[in-house]
Symmetry: C2
Subunit: 500 residues, 2 copies
């Protein structure tokens, strides 16, 4: 048994190393690669991805799993060994269902679609993107067929990012969320709005960076196992537990972008730095799912980083970085400005109260596209009418409407819901944390964030990919993913802020 | 035929992509990786190197070459197709001779030896390094046996870096070189020495960097296909023709280090950026050998970068960067300072007139170690007595003697000679260039370096790895590697400088 398990680990190590190498090739492409490197880098990533696919679908691995599965069934299902076999088996079974020729057709189609999307967005012209998106959607429908039979055609996509989660579960959650969030936003929009204009003025990039780094240190980001670089789209990238990097972009005329961006990525990075050391160099040294990952980043960004307690400590520090801009702005004015609610057309600019509505719109459209009840040609109109229903806004053009996100051009389907689910999980965890550490806000006011991190390490981070997202959420909070805590949080926070 | 050749290219593309990925993993390790990444990075590099070895020794590749070789014999031997098959066959034949278990034993031994060397050097204690070096030398003797029969036990090592070159050829070259260089240095050491103290004072790193970049641009380094970063050991790294990066290190209290270091690496980079575009993503998009590579870097560093004509243009520019330090230092004083000759213990600090003597000493010792006529235990004494013979100096301790270079701890044997051979080739090329572009120095004085680069592109760079070093040198200069032009250059330059 031990022999076979060691063989499994050795076999998977090759897959892991290849994926980490692809991660570095991609990180470098976004952070440092000169423009001339594009073509060769594409070749390198394609070759290594292909080798990784071979490693995870090899007949040797299949035989090894066939030998190990019966024995794993006898093991304590809660043991790391059983979890490793389970997760490896899941990867193997999923990847072997996907024909190699589909992978290559999809890769070509999505490369073309990405270029077409970038051009269409620049020109705000959906028509030029349409045929490329149609091909991507057709290929994605074919993808679903590899996983038939399924309860819902959207299930295989959701499962790519949220192992084990079903479409019906998400739909039930979102149904509750939608009506309550729409009502809340309506109430907020009727009150007076705080002033946030002072957030838009020159803020030196170097000072933004230094202050951002100061925050990451306080939150517990381990700089001996990470770094911060600049990319046009911020992300966190992990090449093993010992090397978890974050990126950001600085807007020299707007403070919140990089500030909350860095806190958000720090949340992701703390998770990846916190998997059990024993999981090093195994498939368990990963997040449980995208939603659980997002629960960490959004908890740090919003529940921690947009809280009054956090700024009671950090605002005087921020003022020393920017005395001219913020010296005469009070803490309360600053706090209200960074929590201003305003329905907007753009998802990535959305505040906590409206964000989930952007997500629900996208999931509904994705389901329509996969089911075939919505044609790509009708997508812009469907988008606009959903926007009007949920946020009362109609996009002025496609660039600020249906073309705003890159995801569909990459062929990502099932990814968007994870953002909203992450919000929900963050609030569920938060209620639990406050139950166990009631003086957490007082700790933040003193600049102490260690108890929070220790709790997350103990209850979430260390388990890595051992548990599927619903299992993990239930283990930690006592219930599966549930919209109620998030709604309670929104109503309490914004009720106070907007005097509802 | 075309079908098989395409198959060959496709097969080799995997090998190339893996090697480029290893290159990036290693570049990043030295430039940006946080310390926590060491263990995982080691795994990633080992896995990808192993896969690259598999790709270049695979039975499929062997069969393909067996099919292609008879046909290649019918082709124009000067065609790119014949060269590609020849080079691929060379790689395949060499790599398949090396048993996998030797690779793994050698990898372990050299990893241990490197750590032991670093410690021994810090403590200047050869004794602690000795057993590890003995193991490395033993494994290297075993390595030679895989290539038996050979004319000389040192041939397989030389061939790793200088395809086709024989030990006897190098020994004949060095025999001429040694006596003449020793005599020249004796003559120089009897004259008065120029003042170079003003080179050792504070020079801001940012200004050193900006000036260095200005030089690289003038020399023709393409910044859309490269970048400059800081590492503790400077190097050039190529991940394809479109991404050729250089690194340097800045000493804030000594100007020449980074200055000539950047020019040196620019020489390497111009070569790698200049291979024929048609060679992209093939084995021909490489240097012909280490010596030919070094001929480019040392030509730019010394024949260009330490010439009076170069500084007639650049010295006024340099003075604007450092008016306080150099405002009152004349061009002639500066020129003499950067060309000061002084026998020293350390190879990497050696000037043009003494450098080759450091190399010859090492090659003689390596041959003794491989032949078994020199035991590792006797190495420090042999080192010291050779130093006294050739440079009249005895190391004060092993750290500044036999322990100074990293190469042997890595198990590199046969590498050192390439540095000196590069010097020789650079002077051979230079005589040819001056024949064809007699006003080159006048061009430099006007800041024009385009004609030089165009000549190198046409005669050297474009051919990449198509020709072996002796073939290339003979094609371009009319003779194989020859010490005479370098000796002529030294005597003329230092004769004038030291009034000999």
């Amino acid at each position: 048994m031990t022999g076979k398990l060691d063989q499994l680990k050795t076999h998977l190590a090759e897959y892991i190393d290849l994926n980490h190498a692809v991660g570095l090739l991609s990180w470098d492409q976004q952070a440092y690669m000169p423009p001339g490197g594009t073509e060769d880098r594409g070749n390198q990533i394609a070759t290594l991805s292909h080798l990784a696919h071979q490693a995870i679908t090899s007949a040797d691995l299949g035989r090894l799993l066939d030998d190990l599965l019966p024995e794993a069934a006898q093991m304590d299902p809660d043991s790391d060994e059983a979890a490793l076999i389970r997760v490896a088996d899941r990867f193997y079974r999923k990847e072997t269902r996907i024909p190699t020729d589909w992978v290559s057709r999809f890769s070509t189609a999505s490369t073309l679609a990405f270029d077409a999307w970038a051009k269409a967005k620049r020109e705000s012209n959906f028509a030029t993107f349409r045929p490329f998106l149609e091909e991507v959607i057709r290929l994605r429908q074919e993808y679903a067929s590899f996983f038939a039979p399924y309860g819902h055609i959207y299930d295989p996509f959701l499962d790519d990012f949220e192992p084990g989660l079903k479409t019906s579960e998400v739909q039930a959650i979102f149904a509750v969320l939608r009506s309550e969030q729409v009502e809340l936003i309506k109430a907020i929009s009727q009150g007076p709005q705080p002033d946030a204009t002072f957030l838009s003025q020159p803020f030196s990039e170097a000072a933004q960076r230094d202050f951002g780094i100061e925050i990451t240190r306080k939150l517990g980001y381990d700089w001996t196992r990470g770094r911060l670089d600049v990319t046009s789209h911020p992300f966190t990238s992990s090449f093993g537990q010992g090397d978890v990097r974050i990126t950001t972009r600085f807007d020299p005329n707007y403070l919140p972008g990089a500030l909350f961006g860095i806190i958000h990525e720090t949340g992701h990075a703390l998770y990846d730095q916190g998997h059990a050391p024993a999981y090093r160099h195994t498939l368990l040294s990963n997040g449980a799912s995208m939603a659980v990952h997002e629960s960490q980043s959004r908890m740090y960004e919003n529940l921690v980083g947009r809280s009054r307690a956090f700024w009671k400590f950090f605002y005087p520090r921020l003022q020393t970085y920017f005395p001219g801009q913020l010296g005469s702005v009070s803490l309360e004015t600053f706090y209200r400005a960074i929590n201003k609610v305003i329905p907007s057309l753009i998802r990535v600019e959305a505040d906590e109260a409206t964000y989930n509505l952007h997500i629900m719109l996208r999931m509904e459209l994705e389901i329509g596209l996969m089911e075939g009840s919505l044609a790509v040609k009708d997508l812009p109109q469907a988008w606009n009418s959903h926007m009007q229903d949920s946020l009362g806004l109609i996009p002025t053009d496609d660039a600020r409407g249906v073309l705003q996100d890159v995801h569909w051009s990459y062929g990502y389907i099932g990814y968007f819901p994870t953002y909203a689910l992450g919000n929900l999980v963050s609030a569920q965890l938060w209620e639990k944390i406050l139950e166990e550490i009631p003086d957490l806000p007082q700790q933040f006011e003193m600049g102490e964030f260690g108890a929070l991190l220790a709790w997350l390490r103990k209850n979430v981070h260390q388990y890595g990919a051992k548990y599927q997202p619903q299992v993990l959420t239930e283990r930690v909070t006592g219930s599966k993913i549930d919209p109620t805590p998030y709604l309670r949080y929104l109503k309490s926070k914004y009720g106070e802020l907007y005097g509802l």
